[in-house]
Amino acid sequence: MSVVVVGGGIAAQAVAERLVERAPGRPVTMLSAEARAPYDRVRLSSLLAEGGDPEALRLRPDAWYADRGVDLRLATPVAAIDPAGRRVETSAGELIPYEALVLCTGSRAAVPPIPGIERPGSFVFRTPEDCDGIAAAAAGARRACVLGGGLLGLEAAKGLLDRGVAVTVVHLVGHLMERQLDPAAGAVLARRMRDLGVEVLTGRATERVLGEGRVEALLLDGGEELPCDLLVTCVGVRPNVDLARAAGLPCERGILVDDAMTTADPAVRAVGECAEHRGVVPGLVAPILAQADVAAASIAGDAAAYKGTAAAAALKVMGVDLVSAGDPSAAGGVAVHDPEAGVYRRLALREGRAAGAILVGDTRGAEALLALVARGAEVSDPLAALAEAARATACDLPDAAQVCSCHGVSKGDILGAIRERGLRAASEVRACTRAGTGCGGCMPLVRELLEAETGEAGAEPAYACPCRGLTREAVVDLVRGRDLRSASDVAAACGAGRDCGACKPAIAYLVSMVTANRHEEERHARFINDRVHANIQRDGTFSVVPRIRGGVTSPEELRRIADVAERHRVPMVKITGGQRIDLLGVRKDQLPAIWAELGMPSGFAYSKAVRTVKTCVGTDFCRFGIGDAVGLGIELERRLEGLHTPHKVKLAVSGCPRNCAEASVKDIGVIAVEGGWEVVVGGAAGSTVRAADPLARVATAAEAIRVAETFLQYYRENAEYLERSYAFVERVGIEEVRRAVLDEGSGEPERLRERLALARAAVADPWREVVERGGGPAFTDLGDDPEPALVGPPPGGELA
């Protein structure tokens, strides 16, 4: 069934997501009037506060749409709907047929009919373009006024304050955020805002916007003039219903829909801020996501009904945590009010039953109170209920209590998922239930539930991205499931790497591992060593270690290395522990030339990768040698070199049990024994010293290489990032390693080798790539380029 979604906002994106989840491959066309791909409008205020690139708000990268066959058509406004012919007409005149149509036309900012409000310097706050306009005007503004003291108005005020503009909020109603708060809570918030330096005027009407040309002042009721040179109007939104109305679909404030989100026409649904369900037009994300779920289900022919979403919002406004649930206007109930601390907690009652809750400044126990409100529980001692809620742990919550209000996930849903699927990590709960994938505010509660249920108190898994609580498994699933190709894709999909950035090398590794090196290489996601393919030293210089397989070189090669070292005045030349030659103290800008002159492949000594295969002279010269260690070592290195691994991997091959190459303390060691070779894994001789575990004894060099390769890929796929093989083998257990690597009957070792071969086929020599490119900006300072920046650009101006 072909589905056309009209719109390009959060609702349209949510509908498209649910549609492709339910029926991958179904053709979905999104027609968005905006030129910008769907973005997170909720975070628009952060754009105003912090500035920056609206691209950062994007909900999905281009690849998401391409990979799922979602035809996202931007800047394609729809001019008309033809319900009888089941097709829509774009403003360019193209006719697009549909079998199911979903209207997600959203809303536009309401502008009150105040004389003069159209003057230059007056803005609404709805799109990134509005944001740009406001930011530009703020740069030269002395005082800004925000019309409207609702959630969006306060966010606009915060954004302007962060930009250093003096702000006054003018609100028509007697207290701030009257849809969510009662007067006392509004006063707590107003006080907090005044502390931050925002003027707050409540219960004041604006009569006129004054100015000769641009905005110069507001004329308030009572004749007071409020000077300002920037005005931002945030007094609500108007649903975009013109298209639906013109098509003959019944509309009141929004497009009227039933519980299946269907309009009067069974082939047409409406979701989000343009839709009116049981008299309610949603304004927050949670109900919109719930509606999208239902709409997608009903298109798929599944029974699903949207019964409305309990009015509950957990917000952060001006740095203050707020929770509002139910009907805050219910008169009865009790409140705890500490104006000094900026705390207000109220449980509203109606006829002895919980009707609403408001928490400002201290939101402990919100879930417990929300649960009381949601089921209209009888409350005999409301003060005790408030106090108990503040002490409540996750275990005390009823199963129906909503834990994740973004996605409407209850405690019961989470416990069910933990029990039925045997979940052990918070990231698994996120993946299975979607709890915590919205604002993430419920993750502490999710962890508490997980601990209580599994009895593994505090047993936090090793996270690939600790900031977002994402395990390696969660990232790998995401990369595989959504066919992501870069660390930036992962960041866009789940936020990993955006907060502190420290996990980006881990994420980049996981993407390259899953895609067998068919990933998009991004310098920013790599540690400096991997950006410039050299090892950074304590003084910021680098070391250069060319590939010398098996530690076997030649006079000609040595002469070349010596010449390069002399020519570039390399401060130190040293033989490494891995039988290589290290040129130390090289400046970043010298690197490309040195590589070009060496003409040798990179030794990857700077990378979490297969480093070196150390060898003894084996049967070539040693009178004790019983196996050709040099031949096997060089072949092994040739097959594995350049492969990235969770941590560095050092190998060695010894030609007899005297073990001169010290293979028994390497990540992978191969030792010649009577009648064949022994392969050992998990050895170490660094800060930890560990004798490698015997993995297998085989007859031929080819078999030894095969076992080593299989183990390497098993390690690549299953170790945590930065987990050395000795820790990995100890964690997994050598028995399990043997089963995975040696049980050829299972077919798994063969598959491991196939994936390794795929990855290896895509390995390139980074030094040669840089030399062929002729260096690049990563190796020079800004302004060191052949055309000096200082003479190029137009004359500089003054900073405002």
């Binding site: 950035g501 990563a778 380029d785 137009p794």
Partner: protein, 105 residues
């Protein structure tokens, strides 16, 4: 933070790719210029800990981590995370594809 002053052109914006940083010398002072998702930022180039090259660090959306010993700095304020230290921040703007710095006072 340098609030005002004549702007000095320091290079092409395209030479500082998104989420990367470059070093530049302005009036004898080494400056690191970063391209964050929220725009360009600049700090002194050397980590106040042991002089590590901050432009070679890993960036989050709003911070950089020194590649030598992992000190992390907020690119808005220059403050170190978990350390009583800060790195000087400078004003940098992009106009028509060029980056300009307010010269260090």
């Amino acid at each position: 933070m340098i609030a005002s002053g004549r702007l000095v052109p320091i290079g092409r914006a395209e030479d500082v790719p998104r989420l990367e940083a470059r070093t530049v010398t302005v009036a004898g002072r080494r400056i690191a210029v970063y391209h964050t998702p929220a725009g360009y930022r600049a700090t002194d180039a050397d980590c106040p800990h042991r002089g590590g090259p901050l432009a070679d660090g890993l960036m989050g959306d709003g911070c950089v981590t020194c590649p030598l010993h992992g000190w992390r700095f907020d690119l808005g304020t220059g403050e170190a995370v978990g350390q009583d230290a800060r790195v000087a921040v400078h004003a940098v703007v992009e106009r028509d594809g060029w980056l300009y710095l307010a010269p260090p006072g």
